[in-house]
């Protein structure tokens, strides 16, 4: 292993600037002559707009412009799009209502964008926004997921009868129904996957600048994927030709999915800076983030498992209603369909699975991918159902999992729901987790807790996810409008230091360190001489960004391939310089050597030589700078077992997590310190969903959890420290042997926590979030 190479817990290169206040986030940017944008948002969940009177606002101090949906349409700015198609059971594509960046005639959720005020200062923009008079015709609101598509409900969009976006069946229904009819035992469960607000700590922001000389728009954004933003805004929104639009995602303060999407505010800022010919800055406040960031989850489901007399799963049947909110966000349709139903096999060899997903529109904020995206919903449903199966069969939850695990010699394993798992050893992870959690000692601890009047419970969650998103051919077949390869450029400068350009984007994941470790390992250049550059469409080649735990598994491989090309090129240059045949040049530890001799050049000398090609023969190209693209053959399938132990105070309903053990298979670890940090963060995201976070609309469509006073984020005193270990396997199709780790905790944790609480209380189920009130109510009827 090279020093600071693969497997070393290198301290992060990016930390110095963040720790000294020198990070550069979008809101930190101030441009000479900038104006400030503030949005007039709908206070109603569902209303017609009869009239907008902007004259008083236009006359207010400092106001530069007040723009509405009519202005947007007049300038030919296209509506926001959803990039993935799902075919409904009637054979028609999903219903896609027009989603204008500024409302045209109607608003469909509280926080919907009605107009934008642009003024010299933010306070002037806010003051003037109060003066925009909007005449609303208030309509009844639809907010409840389960009943949104019922007959007699208010219709939100003409194109979507019964508020239905799609009804998507998948699987052999007849075969599954037959298996249920002849089953020894059927276990079933009704469950809700609670709606979450993603809440990266940095609110979204945008700064737009227009250069009338070059006719170029530069848009600094809180984005996880600058090139995707540029592509969508150019090709679908007609904001500007792609080569005249530069999108920069500078330091971004967390994403978790919510900064993938193209939002109204971003498009409007890009358009408005050209319209007013002044730089325009917009920064969301936290209330706006709650109202208008895409939300996550929000499913209601009924799940059934058919078993034989041994507790072997013979068939599974799932009926799900997914709330997509008022409009389709950029990848909304993909989340409750392909990223959900295709993971319903979990770690089990269930041969027959039938799923039906009904996606509905409601008068709530759009719902899209949030850390895990579909996979947490599938895992929560399955891992809760498995515990119910264990209870119904009188089996230990560990034992029923073991009986149904896909065996280690069955990989690659073709599930009945499209995915073909790459590698896994599910028993190994379970065994290690049981040991880490001292599962055998639990009964004694529960007894001791009882003597103190506490209910102690333990819960297992064995998850699998699909990461390394994604093979372009696979997603293309499914209806995605993009390919999901990744790109890299590795450039030596003449003095021997290296710039690595990646199409991924780092917003907390530590790519600047991990990717440099890959390069130092492969090329032998000291890590301090390697700089990773990302997030600017004018600096980096086209790339697809960061989400779906793809950056290392796809983007890292592209970097490795560019390094391979450099080694091949370096051999030719070294052969010329050392007067040897190319076939005789060997490369290791940063040195090109003529085999069997002491004639050698290090890679920095080769780089210098490549830029000073005074005697190059014809055909030997100067320069030392290579590009590579990588399109994976398959998803990667991280998996693991998480075990949560809780103590419940039956008098107060307070749940304390007393121990949490996680054993994951992420394949090879490049930087174990960073990976473990990703696991911790994911677990707390999942614990937040399980215990604390619940996004609530009232029946009028008012968001009643629109601040940190009302929406309970996990804080330091809500969670313990964690025991983390690994049970790696080697994914055969990934050249680096890596799988991805950013979402695992958020997927594994919710069922582990709820299984533990159900176990503590001796109840079948409790919905998330298991707040003290909910737990206390459940405890009143508990048998423990």
């Amino acid at each position: 292993m090279a020093e600071n190479g693969v497997g070393a817990s290198v301290r992060r290169k990016e930390d110095h600037r963040f720790l000294t206040g020198k990070g550069s986030y979008t809101d930190d940017l101030n441009v000479v002559g900038q104006t400030h944008a503030y949005f007039v948002r709908s206070p109603h969940a569902h209303a017609t707009i009869n009239n907008i009177n902007t004259s008083a606002a236009l006359a207010a101090d400092g106001v530069v412009a007040v723009l509405t949906g009519d202005d947007l349409a007049a300038d030919g700015i296209g509506p926001l799009i959803c990039g993935v198609s799902v075919t409904s059971d009637d054979g028609e594509p999903h219903r896609a209502p027009v989603h204008s960046a500024l409302a045209q005639g109607k608003v469909n959720y509280v926080g919907d964008h009605v107009a934008v005020v642009i003024a010299e200062t933010l306070t002037e923009a806010k003051d003037a926004a109060e003066k925009v008079e909007v005449d609303y015709g208030i309509l009844p609101a639809v907010t409840d997921t389960a009943t949104a598509a019922d007959d007699g409900q208010e219709q939100i969009h003409e194109v979507a009868p019964n508020n239905q976006c799609f009804n998507w069946p998948f699987g052999d229904k007849a075969a599954v129904d037959a298996a249920f009819e002849s089953a020894h035992k059927v276990s079933s469960l009704d469950l809700v996957n609670n709606r979450m607000v993603t809440n990266p700590m940095e609110p979204r922001a945008a700064v737009g600048e227009y250069n009338s000389g070059t006719e170029e728009i530069t848009l600094h954004l809180t984005t996880q994927n600058p090139h995707v933003h540029r592509l969508v805004m150019s090709a679908f929104n007609q904001l500007a030709p792609e080569h005249k639009l530069r999108v920069v995602g500078p330091d971004v303060g967390g994403g978790f999915g919510v900064k993938i999407f193209v939002y109204s505010e971003e498009l409007v800022v890009g358009w408005a800076c050209r319209k007013v010919n002044r730089p325009v800055k917009w920064t969301s406040d936290r209330t706006e983030a709650f109202l208008a960031d895409a939300h996550g989850r929000d499913h209601v489901a009924h799940a059934e498992m058919a078993m034989d007399e041994n507790g072997t799963f013979v068939a599974m049947r799932v009926n799900t209603t997914a709330n997509l909110g008022a409009y389709l966000s950029t990848f909304a349709t993909m989340v409750p369909s392909y990223l959900y139903a295709f993971l319903l096999a979990g770690q089990y060899s269930t041969p027959l699975i039938y799923s039906e997903v009904k996606a509905v529109f409601t008068n709530t904020a759009p719902v899209d991918a949030a850390r895990g995206a579909g996979r947490p919903e599938a895992t929560f449903l399955l891992e809760r159902l498995v515990d119910v199966c264990a209870e119904d069969m009188g089996l230990d939850p560990a034992e029923i999992r073991r009986r149904n695990f896909i065996p280690v010699d069955a990989f690659p394993y073709q599930t009945p729901v499209v995915q073909c798992y790459d590698s896994g050893d599910y028993n190994a992870a379970l065994d290690k987790a049981l040991a880490l959690a001292d599962y055998e000692g639990f009964a004694g601890r529960a007894e001791e807790a009882k003597s103190r009047g506490k209910y102690r419970g333990i819960g297992i969650s064995s998850y699998v996810e699909a990461c390394g998103i994604a093979p372009s051919a696979a997603v293309g077949q499914l209806g995605a409008g993009v390919g999901l390869w990744e790109s890299a450029q590795v450039r030596f400068n003449p003095t021997g230091n290296v710039q690595v350009f990646t199409g991924t984007h780092s917003h907390g994941q530590g790519h600047e360190t991990t990717f440099a470790q890959l390069v130092t390992e492969q090329l032998g250049v000291p890590i301090e001489n390697i700089e990773v550059i990302h997030g600017d469409t004018s600096k980096t080649q086209f790339g697809m960004g960061t989400y779906g735990s793809r950056s290392l598994a796809v983007g890292g491989v592209a970097i490795a391939k560019a390094c391979e090309k450099l080694i091949e090129k370096g051999k030719k240059i070294a052969a010329h310089a050392l007067e040897a045949a190319v076939g005789d040049i060997e490369f290791s530890d940063g040195n090109f050597t003529v085999a069997g001799t002491d004639k050698t050049m290090n890679i920095a000398e080769v780089a210098f030589n490549a830029y000073v090609p005074h005697s190059y023969p014809e055909g030997l190209e100067p320069g030392f700078d290579e590009n590579a693209f990588f399109d994976p053959m398959n998803f990667s399938f991280p998996a693991g077992t998480h075990i949560c132990e809780v103590e419940v105070d039956p008098d107060t309903g307070v749940v304390e997590i007393v121990k949490y053990s996680a054993v994951d298979d992420f394949g090879k670890l490049i930087n174990p310190m960073i990976v473990e940090g990703q696991v911790h963060g994911g677990i707390v995201h999942g614990v937040g969903q399980a215990l604390l976070e619940g996004c609530q609309y009232d029946s009028d469509g008012q968001l009643i959890t629109a601040s940190y006073m009302d929406y309970a984020m996990p804080r330091a005193d809500n969670v313990p420290s964690f025991d983390v270990d690994y049970a790696p396997t080697n994914p055969p199709h990934n050249p680096l042997g890596v799988k991805g780790c950013g979402e695992a905790g958020a997927i594994g944790a919710p069922p582990a926590v709820i299984n533990a609480i159900s176990n503590a209380l001796g109840i079948k189920h409790i919905d998330m979030p298991a707040t003290p009130e909910n737990v206390w109510r459940a405890a009143q009827t508990a048998t423990s």
Partner: protein, 156 residues
């Protein structure tokens, strides 16, 4: 509008502010000290924590005029001649940060926690006292480790 003057990171600074101008707005917009962040509008997240007269303060909850005549330290003022403060170093050594957005407030709060509770502050106290600083990335595990390591280094 009125004039406020204060020592910021050891240097005298002054500026014209409205009565309603918050300390964080003065620091970010006028002094361009953008290391202090704004993550919410209800004084909950703690991304804006600075020290005023040696005590941690949410600078979104204090008016600029209230800091008039005071000593303010922001994240930019912690390192000494390029050498990180022991708490900054501990956050780096223990991977106590990911996206970096909550980090300045975390570090400023952590130093205040150690100042008030001593270098042998226990885990429960650290967790309780970090309740006013929200982080979405780290799960707090490594932040708590970092605070303990930083506490030790500050004390020693």
């Amino acid at each position: 509008m009125q004039t406020v003057s204060m020592n910021v990171n050891g240097e005298p600074k002054s500026g014209e502010v409205e009565d309603r101008t918050l300390l964080v707005e003065f620091l970010r917009e006028q002094l361009r000290l953008t290391g202090t962040h704004v993550g919410c509008d209800t004084s909950q997240c703690g991304a804006c924590v600075v020290h005023v007269n040696g005590v941690s303060v949410k600078s979104c909850t204090m008016l600029a005029v209230q800091a008039d005549g005071g000593d303010v330290t922001t994240i930019e003022g912690l390192a000494n001649n390029g050498e990180l403060h022991p708490m900054q170093q501990a956050f780096k050594d223990n991977h106590g940060l990911q996206c970096g957005f909550c980090t300045p407030g975390m570090v400023m709060s952590a130093i205040d926690i150690v100042n008030r509770n001593g270098s042998d502050v226990d885990e429960a106290t650290v967790r309780k006292e970090l309740e006013g600083n929200i982080c979405r990335c780290t799960g707090y595990h490594n932040i708590v480790k970092a605070v303990h390591a930083g506490a030790k280094n500050m004390g020693g």
